[in-house]
Symmetry: C2
Subunit: 201 residues, 2 copies
DNA sequence: CTACCTTTGTGAAGAATTTCACAAGCCCAA
DNA sequence: TTGGGCTTGTGAAATTCTTCACAAAGGTAG
């Protein structure tokens, strides 16, 4: 989140930002900002604040964003389509190198500059293109099965949009986005009125 | 998350579940399960566990899911399309009652059994249909502007997919899903190898 | 009815996170 | 060069969250 705002400030030509300013932007406290950043190093200058451009670069490196990541999308349905064209991915250094589906009617249909590929190719492609990340946009039913296949193929990080609970071996990272659960969270907050304070997202 | 698993167990006809069993399913500890549930009441039976069906009903009520929620989708692009057809929403009691866009070329085009409506109608529709929730699937540029419009129209909860930071008045709930940020989290975990333990999602 | 096995609910202990508060350091102006 | 105004980095305090551990209670078999 800090990176997001710092890039913004950097784009506007702002040279430094104080913990106070970052805290206001991110909806947290100055002390929190300082503690968070100090975990990774001592980036600020006393009396002046943090050098925006430099800190941006540091955070990019910490997050492992100094190089492009190749990503495959598994599932050529509506959600897959939306994600494949999602500007935010490319903007932030994630390149979609392939879209896969196991429905023979979808395999071969055009997809941007490429075509939807068969799952059978996945193993080969991941090995040859050194892809490490996959976005999973398939129905829940066989999500675990497909994840196992991805892991065997060498995928090391999975962003899962299927509303299913998935197990992965410890060396594989998994992030699940469950859109229905997000709505349920809102339902809870609406139902319980002002007594619950929403967290900044 | 508990609700998700309990519904699953209920569907399979399981009558009771111990905190141990729920903990294993959710990737947490029995003590955590008991503390979490005890916050809302005393649902279990000693020596036996929690009554699955009954607890499911309790959690639904706690989350405010005992009635249907009407939801509008703002933005008739790829993401809007994916969300409007998302089975998970309807399955869990969220009914999409309208899709809106401010692009005159999109307004009026067919959308499922309805058509894409103009943003100008939104005010009127929200008031008459008593809609309280909106899903925001538009580009970041004018996200804040559209949110302000939604809030004025009476929307009280917003699920935001635009990769922008949005401000809302305190009585409005906001959840943001930032897909690029999720990938960045994975990038961080991959970059820092096994030293970081992924959280269950 | 009793003995025993099981599992909850919950204070207390322990761990982690956040906030406080201030010395140390940087910049600038005179 | 000195002094004053800011702001960081960080131990220590305060708070919050998680785990422990056990009394209380339901179930069952004999």
């Amino acid at each position: 989140m800090y990176l997001r705002y710092l890039e913004d400030l950097d784009g506007r030509g702002q040279l430094t930002a104080s913990s106070d300013e970052l805290a206001q932007l991110c909806g947290t406290t100055p002390a929190q900002v300082r503690k968070d950043l100090s975990f990774f190093g001592s980036f600020g200058k006393r009396g002046l604040g943090y050098p925006v451009h430099e800190l941006t670069a540091h955070l990019r490196e910490i997050l492992g964003l100094e190089h492009e990541w190749k990503v495959i999308i598994v599932g050529a349905g509506k959600i897959g389509a939306a994600l494949a064209n999602y500007r935010g991915f490319r903007q932030r250094g994630f390149t979609v190198v392939g879209v896969y589906d196991n429905d023979p009617r979808k395999v071969g249909t055009p997809w941007g500059e490429s075509v939807v590929r068969s799952m059978d190719q996945l193993d080969h492609d991941v090995a040859h293109e050194e892809v490490r990340m996959a976005v999973l946009a398939i129905p829940s039913e066989n999500a675990q099965q497909v994840v196992d296949l991805l892991v065997r193929a060498g995928i090391r990080a999975i962003l899962n949009f299927a509303p299913a609970q998935i197990a992965v071996p410890p060396q594989v990272s998994l992030q699940s986005v469950n859109m229905a659960m997000e709505l349920e969270r809102l339902s809870f907050e609406l139902t319980h009125g002002e007594s619950i304070q929403a967290v900044a997202g």
